[in-house]
C-alpha cells in the first residue's frame, strides 16, 4: 500500500515534469491538468476504491444484518445511509470512501464479519462512518493536491531561474558543464514530493485518531473498537483455516515469493501504531466512564 502510493505519486510527478519541461507546456495548462486529475480522483473516489478492491455492493436482501447495523449507526451519527459493500477475503478489514456523505460507501471483508463479534463490527463500522462524516476523502485530496502544487512550483521556480535568468551564453554553458537542467528539476521535485508524502501520512494518522474518537462517540462503547483493533491486528487472524490441497488450484499460492513484512518507521505509516490508538481509546473510555480491561 505504502509502496504503491509512493510509486503512484512519483509517477504523477514524473508525468508532470515530462509534460512541463520536455513538451514545453506552460504553467497555466499544467495547473489545469493537475487540478483536473485531482478532481477526477475526488469525484470518482467511491467507485474507484470499490472497483480497485474488488468489493461488491450488496443489497438489503443479500446482507440484512449488515444493512441493519449500518442504518442504526447512521441514525446515531446523523448521516445519510451509504452504499454497503462486501469484499470476499479472509483478512478482517474495512474501509470507507466517497467524496461526501451522500456519495459514500462502506465496505467490510467477509473475514471481519466472520471473525469479530457483532459489537466489534459495529465499532469498526462506526470508525469508517466517522471518516465519511469527517469528509476525510476531501481532506486527503486537498492535502495531496497541495503536495503536488508544491512540487510543481519548486520546479517552476527552478526552470524560470535557469532559463529565464541565465539566457544568452549561459544557456550553452549550463548544458556543457554539470548535470542537465531537467535532471536537477527532477531531483528537486522528487525531494519536495518525498517531504509532502511524509506530511500527508502524518495528516492521515491524525484523521485515524479522529475517526477512533468518532466511533467511540457513535457507539458509546470504545472498548469494542479496542478489542476489534486487537483482533484485526493480531497475527492469529492471518493463519488460514483452509486446506492446502483446496488452495492448490490457485497456483498463485506457490509462485509469488514470500514478502517479509518489515517494521516500517512510524513516519511513513498512514495508520498510527496499535498501542497508541488503544491508549487514546482508553483515555476516551475513561472520559466516558466506561470500564476498560
Amino acid at each position: 500500500m505504502l509502496l504503491t502510493g509512493g510509486l503512484l505519486g512519483l509517477l504523477y510527478v514524473v508525468f508532470a515534469v515530462v509534460l512541463f519541461s520536455i513538451l514545453n507546456v506552460g504553467l497555466a495548462p499544467m495547473l489545469i491538468i493537475v487540478l483536473g486529475l485531482a478532481f477526477f480522483q475526488y469525484y470518482t473516489s467511491d467507485k474507484l476504491a470499490l472497483a480497485a478492491s474488488g468489493a461488491k455492493v450488496v443489497s438489503r436482501e443479500d446482507a440484512p444484518a449488515l444493512h441493519d447495523m449500518v442504518e442504526r449507526l447512521c441514525a446515531m451519527a446523523d448521516l445519510p445511509k451509504p452504499k454497503v459493500a462486501i469484499m470476499d477475503t479472509p483478512v478482517p478489514n474495512a474501509f470507507a470512501t466517497g467524496r461526501s456523505p451522500k456519495h459514500a460507501a462502506v465496505c467490510v471483508t467477509t473475514g471481519l464479519w466472520e471473525r469479530l463479534e457483532p459489537k466489534e463490527v459495529e465499532g469498526v463500522l462506526a470508525h469508517e462512518l466517522s471518516h465519511v462524516a469527517n469528509r476525510d476523502v476531501l481532506v486527503m485530496t486537498i492535502a495531496s493536491f497541495f503536495a503536488m502544487l508544491a512540487a510543481l512550483l519548486t520546479r517552476f521556480g527552478l526552470y524560470a531561474g535557469m532559463w529565464g535568468g541565465g539566457f544568452g551564453g549561459g544557456n550553452n554553458r549550463n548544458n556543457n558543464n554539470g548535470p542537465p537542467v531537467w535532471l536537477i528539476m527532477l531531483a528537486v521535485s522528487i525531494v519536495v514530493y518525498a517531504i509532502s508524502f511524509v506530511l500527508i501520512r502524518t495528516i492521515s494518522r491524525y484523521r485515524e485518531y479522529a475517526a477512533d474518537r468518532g466511533s467511540a462517540l457513535i457507539t458509546g462503547a470504545p472498548e469494542y473498537l479496542m478489542s476489534a483493533l486487537q483482533k484485526i491486528s493480531s497475527q492469529m487472524t492471518l493463519i488460514p483455516n483452509r486446506d492446502l490441497r483446496q488452495v492448490e488450484g490457485m497456483n498463485a499460492f506457490f509462485i509469488v515469493p514470500a514478502k517479509l513484512r518489515t517494521a516500517t518507521a512510524e513516519l511513513f505509516m498512514d495508520h498510527p501504531p496499535l498501542e497508541k490508538r488503544l491508549a487514546a481509546l482508553a483515555a476516551i473510555a475513561r472520559e466516558m466512564g466506561r470500564p476498560v480491561a
Binding site: 490441497r245 497456483n251 514470500a258
Partner: protein, 182 residues
C-alpha cells in the same frame, strides 16, 4: 507480467533443518517424532508420469530398506497421492522424504510435489510440521477437533523454533492439511 510459463520447482534442500530442530522440540516442548511422515503430490495420468513413478517407487523402496523404514501409498479425496514413511528415527524419515523429492525432481516431476508433513506427539494434540516444497519452508499445524487449529500453540512453536528452522514468514500461507493420512 508475461504470465507464468511453468510451475515452481521444489526446494527440498531445507528439509534437513528439521533434524536439528527436533532437539529443541523435545527439550523445550516435550514433542517427539511420532515415527511417521508423509509426502503429498498431485499424480498425473500420463503414461510418462506413471513410468517415471515406477523408477521413483523402486528408489524409495531401496532407500527405505537401507534405513529400515516402511513405505506405503494412499490417495485422498482431494485427488492427491500420499507416500507414507514409517521409521522411529526422524533422521531416516527426513532422508527418505528428501530422496523421494530429489528423485521426482530428477525425473522431471518435481513441480507435482505439494508438501511433506512430519508428525510429533507429546502434547495434548498432535503437532505437524508441514514443509511446503514450493516455499522451501516449514510451518506448524496443530489441528483440534472440528477442522479448527490451535493458532496460539502454532505461534508459540514459530517463536521457539524460528532461529533453527526455516519457517514460512507469511502467516497467510500456513495452510492446513486436515485429515492427513498420518
Amino acid at each position: 507480467m508475461f504470465g507464468r510459463k511453468k510451475l515452481a520447482e521444489p526446494k527440498e534442500d531445507k528439509l534437513f533443518a528439521l533434524t536439528t530442530a527436533a532437539v529443541t522440540l523435545d527439550t523445550e516442548l516435550g514433542l517427539k517424532t511420532a515415527g511417521v511422515a508423509a509426502v503429498a503430490f498431485k499424480p498425473q495420468s500420463s503414461g510418462e508420469f506413471r513410468s517415471a513413478f515406477d523408477d521413483v517407487d523402486k528408489l524409495i523402496e531401496a532407500v527405505a530398506q537401507s534405513c529400515g523404514s516402511t513405505v506405503e501409498r494412499k490417495s485422498d479425496e482431494y485427488g492427491f497421492d500420499w507416500i507414507i514413511v514409517r521409521d522411529p528415527d526422524l533422521e531416516d524419515l527426513v532422508t527418505t522424504v528428501h530422496a523421494l523429492a530429489g528423485e521426482m525432481t530428477a525425473q522431471g516431476f518435481g513441480a507435482q510435489l505439494l508438501a511433506a508433513t512430519f508428525r510429533f506427539d507429546g502434547g495434548e494434540h498432535p503437532v505437524y510440521w508441514i514443509y511446503g516444497f514450493k516455499r522451501g519452508a516449514f510451518w506448524p499445524f496443530v489441528p483440534i477437533e472440528d477442522q479448527k487449529r490451535d493458532n496460539a500453540l502454532e505461534l508459540e512453536l514459530k517463536a521457539k523454533l524460528e532461529s533453527e528452522l526455516p519457517i514460512e514468514p507469511d502467516l497467510t500461507r500456513w495452510l492446513a492439511l486436515f485429515d492427513a493420512p498420518i
